[in-house]
Subunit: 391 residues, 2 copies
């Protein structure tokens, strides 16, 4: 007798989306999560743009991101309806701005590239940029409006996923998972305690923490690393109108900065990328984020610094996510990646991690892909390059 | 029948020091305080330097500060003994550094001035500065070591004052004082409630909030204004040695910045001076404080930003504190400042506020002065220019 049809390890946006969709398909689902605020999902900005500097040349990841953003609005609408909670979806798009001729040339290439893959992109002169966003710095030379880009409030989005999961009976257990095997999960519900749960399927969606779980095949554990990001949450004082309405991106002194506005007056400024695994808020990072944000939009100096937080994104050796079944013969024996294309059989382990900077964007498509695997089907072809067998 | 010999309004470092010393002299003392964290005493850095840019030309204030710093060590030793709590007194002194020839010339004037009033000051070249503080920026051109300057941990200092007051029976009542009159204090212990306490003497030490208390003479209320200060508390990560051991001051882009180290690894960076009465932490202020601190000591970028806080200092129309009795004939009648030199009679109101940036430094001398007034004696002559009658 199994404890559940599916056990999901990890309660961030990936794990919770998987749990919700699996339960929606009629399965009994248990989600195991440490229950702390140490989650990349809570630190993120919720910016949903399929094209960024980092995927400019990575065709497979770009194709996956395009698939993911196509899927997102319908998934999000269903989520809001199921949970009864708004996720703060914004559709104004992203305005990427330039400060010199080098930046402008890069924006021309980005515009051309977006057009070549069928995405919207409109080159704007400085005057047009400032018409859209009147508080942009006077030094703004021009920009590109990507009107198809989206954003959600990542915290509201996770809260809605949790609420939706609860409505279809997902059971959440607090604990730190230490070992996984075929059909078995061992975890610590509290200090010094150890317990086990069994299920037909185990899905590991523990972000960078996947690297610390025994039983996950070594090639996967070795491919995942934490990439620290520090991020700021600003708020408008009562008397100030909202100073931006689009997501604004800029390259300031070689660093990519983004400003994501919320309808409730929050403005998220991100983010550092650091090869460290602590969660310290450092003086240098806060300074640099504020300086870069104020370079793009000087009036940010008047906003309230409400929160500085740090998270650890699950980076991978090739910057792509890792999604698919891995073959494990018996509980307590070492698991190894399944051959490419193998569907998950009963007792198999499914891994869904390594979403790096794109966790929120990829969450809907990931939940679909895992739902397909649980049903013995193949996920969308955009996922093929991201099978664990590649590692 | 009076409720107490003395009622002190305000539980910051000034009010608590007054309450402790009054009780130590055998009086029954009640201290009324709102009990919130909205206290300039909790935001301060605890830097105790009698000479700063702001008092360079103000002879009366300088004389008072010199009297106060002479008094401080013995008072502090007695406080630590009485409370059983260390206040974090540091005696390494203040190193003020310069970045250009203009700064250096200003430091020469400061050195000469300190010598002229009998204070220690040693001009150091860049090499000697960096020998004292190896993490100073390479752009440091020279400095002055003021080895007589002190600092305490302002929060530990306030905690010790509270503990010492408790040991001699000071009774603390939580409430927001609304009105004072001769021998009478009216306050709100909770929302919608109003109550009164009577005493032979009432001492108002409510910082800038003194301006909002009915019954305090109008000339005093009008002379006091809140001057907002934002300040940062940094911490060393576990693996980093403490990066400074002296209080470090510098003028960066025309702004005075100070860095006050604590033995426990905290490093306080201050402070803005803003003519505002909110307590918002603003993006611009945090950015400027971090930039200026990192200009002086670049390694500060590696420290943890543990806290940003804002307080409202009690500024006055002439930058000096206000200390002395004001004559009030009867409860509920309007009070007016007493003529200069009038000692406090029974039923009089004593005001002790307007300490602006020097609250911790002046706290010991203020407690002595109020103790003298309560005993029908004159305070130290350094206080004479700061009588309420001047307003």
């Amino acid at each position: 007798m199994m404890d559940a049809d599916v056990i999901v390890v990890g309660g961030g946006v990936i794990g919770t989306a998987i749990a919700w969709r699996a339960a929606l398909a009629g399965r009994t689902v248990t989600l195991i999560d440490p229950g702390t605020d140490d989650k990349a999902s809570l630190v993120a900005a919720g910016m949903l743009g399929p094209v960024s500097e980092s995927v400019f040349g990575e065709q497979d990841l770009l194709a996956l991101n395009l698939h993911a953003i196509d899927r997102f609005p319908a998934f999000n609408a269903e989520l809001e309806a199921a949970s009864g909670q708004p996720t703060g979806l914004r559709t104004e798009g992203t305005l990427t701005v330039a400060y010199d001729s080098g930046d402008l040339a890069a924006l021309d290439r980005l515009t051309e590239f977006r057009h070549s893959i069928g995405l919207k992109a409109e080159r704007l002169d400085a005057r047009a940029c400032r018409k859209l966003e009147p508080f942009l710095a006077p030094s703004t030379r021009g920009g590109v409006l990507a009107s198809g880009d989206l954003s959600v409030d990542n915290r509201r989005y996770l809260a809605a996923l949790r609420a939706a999961a609860a409505t279809v009976g997902v059971r959440t257990v607090v604990g730190q998972v230490t070992d996984v095997a075929a059909g078995l999960v061992r975890f610590r519900p509290g200090p010094g305690e150890t317990t086990e749960l069994s299920a037909a399927h185990v899905v590991v969606a523990a972000g960078w923490g996947t690297a610390r779980i025994e039983g996950v095949p070594d090639p996967i554990r070795k491919a995942i690393r934490p990439v620290k990001g520090q991020i700021l949450r600003l708020r408008h004082p009562g008397n100030l109108p909202h100073i931006i309405s689009h997501t604004v991106r800029a390259i300031v002194q070689g660093r990519d900065i983004y400003l994501v506005p919320r309808a409730d007056g929050e403005l998220v400024v991100g983010a550092t990328q650091e090869e460290r695994d602590d969660r310290d808020i450092t003086a240098g990072a806060v300074h640099d984020l504020l300086r870069d944000a104020m370079t793009a939009v000087p009036a940010i100096s008047e906003l309230i610094l409400a929160e500085a937080s740090a998270g650890r994104r699950p980076g991978t050796s090739d910057n792509g996510p890792i999604l698919g079944p891995v073959q494990v013969s018996q509980p307590n024996e070492a698991a190894r990646p399944a051959a490419t294309g193998t569907a998950a059989g009963t007792g198999a382990l499914i891994v869904a991690t390594g979403h790096f900077r794109n966790g929120v964007l990829l969450s809907a498509a990931t939940a679909d892909a895992v739902a397909a695997l649980l049903a013995g089907e193949q996920p969308h072809p955009a996922w093929a390059p991201f099978h664990p067998g590649r590692l």
